[in-house]
Structure formats: C-alpha cells, structure tokens
C-alpha cells in the first residue's frame, strides 16, 4: 500500500519535472510572476489603459507617414488588446485585434539571458500598443515565445508561432537561437527583422532576414577603434568565450582592428560553458602581462563574475564591454560598485534628451519599473520599422506571409527609417540585411549608464 502511494507520488513529481523541462520554465505563471524580478515590477498593477498608450504620440509621426491609408481599420477599438497586452506571463496571448498583422518573435524569456528577451518583448509590446492605439492603418498582434537562449528550443518556439499564423517575424533576440530560426524563416519565406541577434551568420545567405542591430564584426572593429582614438589603453587583454559565436566574432575583428590602431594585445584567454566560474587564470594572465584595459566580448553573466573576482584579487584595470554587457546592472544582488567605470558600446542611450527616446523611456519605466536597455529600444524600433514598411507597401493583413515577404524585401532595401537607435541621418539596410548604424560609447557611473561623448 505504502509502496503504491510512493509510486504515485514519484510519478507525479516526474510529471511535474517534465512539464517544467518542456515548458522551459513557462508554466505556472503565478510562480513566475512573483519572481522574475528583472522585468515584471509594476506589471500587474499596470493594466495599461487605452489612454496610457495613446499619450506618447510623438514617435508616431516618424513611423506612420500620413499616406491616406487609414480606411482599413480606423474604427478598430484598441481596448481589448491593450488591457491584455502587458501581462506578466511568459507567453503573451493578447486578445486579437481585427485586421492585425501577426507579428511573432522568440527570445530568452527565462534562463541566463532572460534580461535581453524580456527587454525586447517589453519594448516591442510598447510599440505595438502605441501603434494600435494610434490612427495608423497597420495594426499588430504581438506574440513572443520563450527559447531560453537555446537553438533547439528556438526552433520549437518558431514552429509554434508558425502554427499560430505568424505573418512577419521579429526573429530571435540572441545570436545562437537566431542562426537556427533565421534558416527556418528563410525556408518558409517569412520575413524576419531581428532586434538584436548580431552574428553575421544570422543574415548570411538569407535575403529575407534583416537586423536592427549592428553585426558582431562591426562591434569588434568599433570597440578597437574607440579604444584607439580615445587613448583608453595601450596594453589590452581579451577574455572571450570560445564556444559562443557572438563572443568569437567580436574578438576576431577586434584583434584585427587593434593591430591597425597600434594597440598591443598582451593577453588573449578563453573560457567556455563548462568552466565559466573560475577566472583566476585568465585574470592572472592579464595582470602579469600588465594589461591596463581588459576587453570583455561576452554577456553580462560571466562578466559579473570576472568583475567580482578581479576585485577580490585586487586587480583594477579599465574594463571595456560590448552590447552583451548591457543588463549587468539589473542583475538581482549585483554590487554596482564593481561595475563602476566599465565602458561599453551600445546603440542606445536611455539618458538621451531626444524627445522620442525620453517618451519611450518614461513609458517603459512606468510599465516595467526600470530603465530600458538597448534590446528594448531595438525591438521598439523593429515594430515601428515594420509599421513604416507595411504602410508604404500598402500591405494588408489578409495577405499571406510569402506575399508580405516579397513586399518587405523591397521596402527594407529602399527605405530610410528614423528610430530611437542609430544616428540623425536615419537607418538604411543593404541587400544582405545589415543595417547602417554606429555604436555609442557609454560608461557606468554611479550605477547608471552615461553617454561618453
């Protein structure tokens, strides 16, 4: 009798575990909502009433040119959508908006890179709500699926978006999954514009996959150039993650450009997934070779460990990160003094006084209780870029994905887009899908990102 009871208990716990595994942490929104501190504060208390989303009307004029396209769904009421949209759960299932384009994306909503995925999802959601509340002819229905920064899960997530009827895609948020999903969306002729997957392989050989962020080689080159021209250091150490395309891509081009800039790379060390806890060897190598600047082309999680261990061993060089470093300040329990003076290149400055940026930052802070990072801004720009392109192409939501795919390819290679990220002269895309964008230098001062120039 006892044994039977135990068997049942074990079976139940196994089921529980399996559910947790397959869902990638997606089930039990109640549990999740209480603890995903990075993104949810203020969510439940903030049902984003229609007038909320209607107020920041400033970004609209850039994205929805008055082409006289308003006849399609001018009378659509945005209420049902906006009240549902910013739910704290992982799978956003907003109530359908009539005649809306189905816009899907995958990103790490859980896992080590969750800060990026949630930021992108939140940024895109704000843009969608604003557009749906405006008089724009193009409306969106947004759906994000969790890929836990894993290529296999990303393809599953992509497939479930396809089943849902996705017409245009926001690709994946991070590089590794994006390389997998972009191949799928190329094969399926679903147009894809990724906010932040920056590896060159994401767009290589796929004429319908575009990027909103600059590519990795671009970041490596820009970082070396920045260090060289600003005289930030002369003896450079690089610590990079050898099993990550993102890290390797940046490191390779960094070394090339460092040569051209006359920078001396005195230490070049690696780590990988299995041994990403102890960095004493790498840091000692940098210290003993008297590196005065350490370049960290990696995500924030290992970077936080490196900063802590360097501080414990009394090593204080200048630190220079890339866009993956963005998010380090929002880690729970992170001692911001460790990151004091860390420099990084990102395409977005939340402290900018630019009117559009300020409105976006205010809205984001109101909804999610924290400053948006570049991932949020990139995703926000993606949605507005889509809105502009779809409007210009006179696309309607009853078109199938392949038709829209053709129209979008034509639009994106010809249009100029003005968004939160990028420069005054606007963003353009070449046929390969790469965007013309230059990074901005930022430095962490008193626990906040401050523009360097």
């Amino acid at each position: 009798m006892k044994k039977k009871l135990l068997c049942v208990l074990l079976a139940l716990s196994m089921l529980f575990v399996l559910a947790a595994c397959n869902g990638g942490g997606a089930p039990e929104p109640a549990d999740d909502g209480t603890d995903t501190e990075a993104n949810t504060p203020g969510n439940s208390a903030e049902p984003a009433t229609p007038d909320d989303s209607a107020t920041p009307a400033t970004p609209d004029d850039s994205a929805a040119p008055e082409d006289g396209q308003a006849e399609l769904s001018g009378e659509t009421t945005p209420e049902p959508d906006t009240t549902h949209a910013p739910t704290p759960t992982n799978n956003t299932t907003p109530a359908p908006v009539e005649d809306a384009f189905k816009l899907g994306g995958t990103g790490p909503l859980t896992g080590g890179a969750a800060i990026y995925g949630n930021a992108a999802k939140n940024g895109a959601q704000i843009a969608v709500d604003e557009i749906n509340a405006s008089d724009s002819a193009v409306k969106f229905e947004l759906r994000y699926e969790d890929d836990a920064h894993d290529a296999e899960k990303a393809v599953n997530a992509y497939n479930s978006l396809k089943d849902w009827g996705m017409q245009i895609s926001l690709g994946s948020v991070t590089s590794k999954p994006a390389e997998a999903t972009s191949a799928e969306s190329f094969a399926d002729s679903i147009f894809s514009l990724t906010p932040s997957a920056s590896s060159p392989a994401t767009i290589a050989g796929k004429d319908n996959v575009f990027q909103m962020c600059f590519t990795d080689p671009n970041q490596g080159t820009a970082s070396a150039e920045y260090i060289g021209t600003q005289n930030l250091g002369s003896r450079i150490a690089v610590i990079w993650k050898s099993d990550d395309v993102y890290s390797k891509g940046i490191r390779d081009t960094f070394l090339e450009e460092a040569d051209a800039q006359g920078l001396q790379v005195v230490s070049d060390t690696t780590f990988s997934d299995g041994n990403a806890t102890d960095f004493s060897v790498q840091l000692n190598d940098a210290k003993n070779n008297e590196a005065d600047l350490v370049f960290l082309p990696m995500y924030y999680e290992p970077a936080s460990l490196i900063l802590a261990q360097a501080s414990a061993m009394g090593y204080a060089p200048k630190w220079f990160g890339v866009d993956g470093m963005d998010g380090i300040l929002t880690m729970q329990g992170f001692d911001a003094s460790l990151a004091e003076g860390v420099m990084l290149l990102t395409p977005f400055n939340a402290d900018s006084t630019d009117e559009k940026t300020a409105a976006f930052v205010a809205e984001y802070e109101k909804r999610f209780g924290e400053k948006p990072n570049q991932f949020a801004a990139d995703a926000y720009d993606c949605v507005y870029a889509y809105c502009q392109a779809l409007t210009a192409a006179n696309a309607t939501s009853d078109m199938d994905a392949a038709t829209i795919n053709g129209l979008m390819k034509e639009q994106f290679t010809t249009m100029t887009f003005y968004g939160l990220t990028g420069t005054e002269s606007g963003l353009t895309w070449d046929a390969s899908g790469a965007v013309s964008k230059s990074p901005k230098g930022m430095v962490i001062t008193n626990g906040a990102y401050v523009g360097m120039d």
Partner: protein, 327 residues
C-alpha cells in the same frame, strides 16, 4: 610576517616561481570549495553506501535559502556582522530537513533494492530539485552577496572594502581562508564524530553490515537518516561558501561543482573523510595548473585523465582503504 612578505617579493622578480605560487593559491581556493562539497558526498557514501547525486542540488537550495534570508534580514548596525552567520544557520536548518525528507521519501523505500535503482532515483531527485528551483526562484541569475569582506576606513577617510589578504604582491581572498578553515574544522569534527561517539560507532557499524548492526540493536533507519541530515547540513554550508567564492546563483549552480566534487571524493578515496579533503584540494590545483600551463579548453580532460591514471594505480583512491570482499 615580514619574512614571508620578503620571500614573496623575492619570488616576484623570479617570474615563473611567483606565477607558480599564484596558481597554487588559486588552485587551493578552487579546491577548498570542491573539498567541502566532497566531504558531504563521502560522508553519505561511507555510511549509507549510496551515491547521493542530489547533493549538488541540495547545495544550490542551501545557497538560495542563504541568499533570500540574508536579503530579508535587516539587522541594526553592529548586529549586521552576524547576518551572514544567521543566514547560513537558516540554510543549514532548511537543508537538513530537506535532506531527511528526501531520504524518507525517495531512498528509504529502496533500501532493499539494488544500488543501481537508488542511483537512478538520486539522479531523479537531482532533476526534481533543479526544476523545482526553476519554478520557485526563476532562472534569472542572482548575484550572491559577498559575506567575507571587511570595510575599513583609510587615511583619506574613504571606506575601503577589503576582499583579500595581501602578501607582497600575492593576494589570498578571505573566502578562500574561511573555506579552508571551515573545511578543516568539519573534517576534524567528522573524524571525531564517526570515530569516538556512540552515534558515530553506530554509523560505522551500519556501513559494515546493516543486518548485523540491526541484530546488535542499532536502529539502522535512524542512523542513515542522521547521516543524511549531517550530509545535507554540510551541503548548506558548502553552498554558502561556493557562492561566496563564485557569486553566480542559478538553479544549476550546484550541478557542475557537484560532479567535480564527486570526482574529488573518488580521487581521494570515497568513504574516506581526510581523502575527500585531500582529493578536493588536489583536484582544484590540478585544474588551475591544467588551465594555466596546458589549455583552458582541455583542462577538464586533463583533470579526468589524471584521475584515471590514479585509479589505475590505486583503485581505491589516494587514501581509500582496501577492503577485501568475501565472495
């Protein structure tokens, strides 16, 4: 003291020797973390003769409990020094209860089953704990607070945070020192406990022959439960120290160090308490050496290759006792 500093500084000019010393110190600090985890493994294996693969995940639970109780505590001024200690105590209590519960629910019904079944169950428990932690605490990484830092005021009146002891140009972090001291204390206590106390004797009796021990009037179930209680309590301490040294806390935090520590326990001779300590330290030093002098990518392979060689030469591990089995 001055002599040591002079000695260290003389090495500094030497380059290679200084490097070597530095790597040994880093190796010991990594190894001390392995050692403290390995003590729990070896304890449970030595008595209950089962591999508790969930040990690494109990460590993770301990670290989370520590993280949250420390975060929730608001102690006034001078009492704040005790906060880490209280947090660790809370973690020890929770993990002890957790360990006993796991033993009661998952392992006790299998006491008569073949050891393979118990092993698989242990792996199941390990996954269960990881996924439960994923649901409870979400997977976004938490940064563990630094328990072992001292704040002092320098001449300029600024508050300086001290994280390490400086010996000339070498630095040894406080966490390492605390971990090694804790490790030695636990090792001595365990040796005394299993060797001298009545409960300890009962444990050894159970480990030798359960049936005979029962006939001698020893409550085998209670003894094994106690073993698990002690092992899990140690896991909580190990969790706090592991995360103080490497302050990144996710639901899988315990699994990799757990496997390495298990290796260390086998390396030192599983079942042997001093063996776990020695094995842990050696494994840490080996790993750092392999990283520094051979290749970061190959470091794990090198470590395991050494393990294989050691086991070929001495199948019971460095300090393991050879027990003749009667056929």
């Amino acid at each position: 003291m001055n002599f040591i500093i002079q000695f260290v500084n003389s090495l500094t000019s030497g380059g290679g020797a200084y490097q070597l010393l530095n790597h040994i110190i880093n190796g010991i600090s990594l190894g001390s973390v392995y050692a403290i985890i390995a003590l729990g493994y070896t304890m449970v294996y030595g008595i209950a003769k089962m591999l508790n693969f969930a040990h690494g995940d109990v460590i993770m639970v301990g670290a989370y409990i520590c993280f949250y109780t420390f975060g929730a505590m608001k102690l006034p001024g001078p009492l704040a020094v005790c906060a880490p200690l209280l947090a660790i105590c809370a973690a020890v209590v929770v993990c002890t209860l957790l360990g006993v519960t796991i033993e009661k629910l998952a392992y006790k019904p299998l006491r008569a089953a073949p050891s393979l079944a118990v092993l698989i169950t242990a792996i199941g428990v390990s996954y269960f704990l990881q996924n439960a932690a994923l649901l409870l605490w979400s997977s976004s990484p938490k940064v563990f607070p630094s328990f072992f830092v001292f704040r002092s005021v320098n001449e300029a009146g600024e508050t300086v945070t001290l994280r390490s002891v400086q010996l000339g140009s070498l630095s040894i972090s406080f966490v390492t020192i605390v971990t090694i001291v804790t490790c030695v204390v636990i090792m001595l206590w365990l040796t005394w406990f299993t060797g001298r106390t009545k409960m300890g004797k009962a444990m050894r009796a159970c480990s030798e022959d359960k049936a005979a021990a029962q006939l001698m009037g020893i409550d085998v179930n209670a003894t094994i439960s106690l073993t698990f209680a002690i092992g899990s309590g140690l896991a909580a301490i190990a969790g706090a120290l592991l995360c103080s040294a490497y302050p990144n806390l996710v639901p899988t935090t315990g699994s990799m160090p757990g496997i390495k520590a298990f290796t260390a326990a086998v390396f030192g001779g599983i079942g042997s308490i001093p063996g776990a300590f020695l094995g842990g330290l050696l494994l840490g030093v080996l790993e750092i050496f392999a990283k520094a002098y051979i290749s970061v990518q190959l470091s794990d392979a090198v470590v395991f290759a050494v393990l294989i060689v050691v086991l070929l030469v001495k199948p019971t591990g460095l300090l393991g006792r050879t027990v003749r089995e009667k056929v």
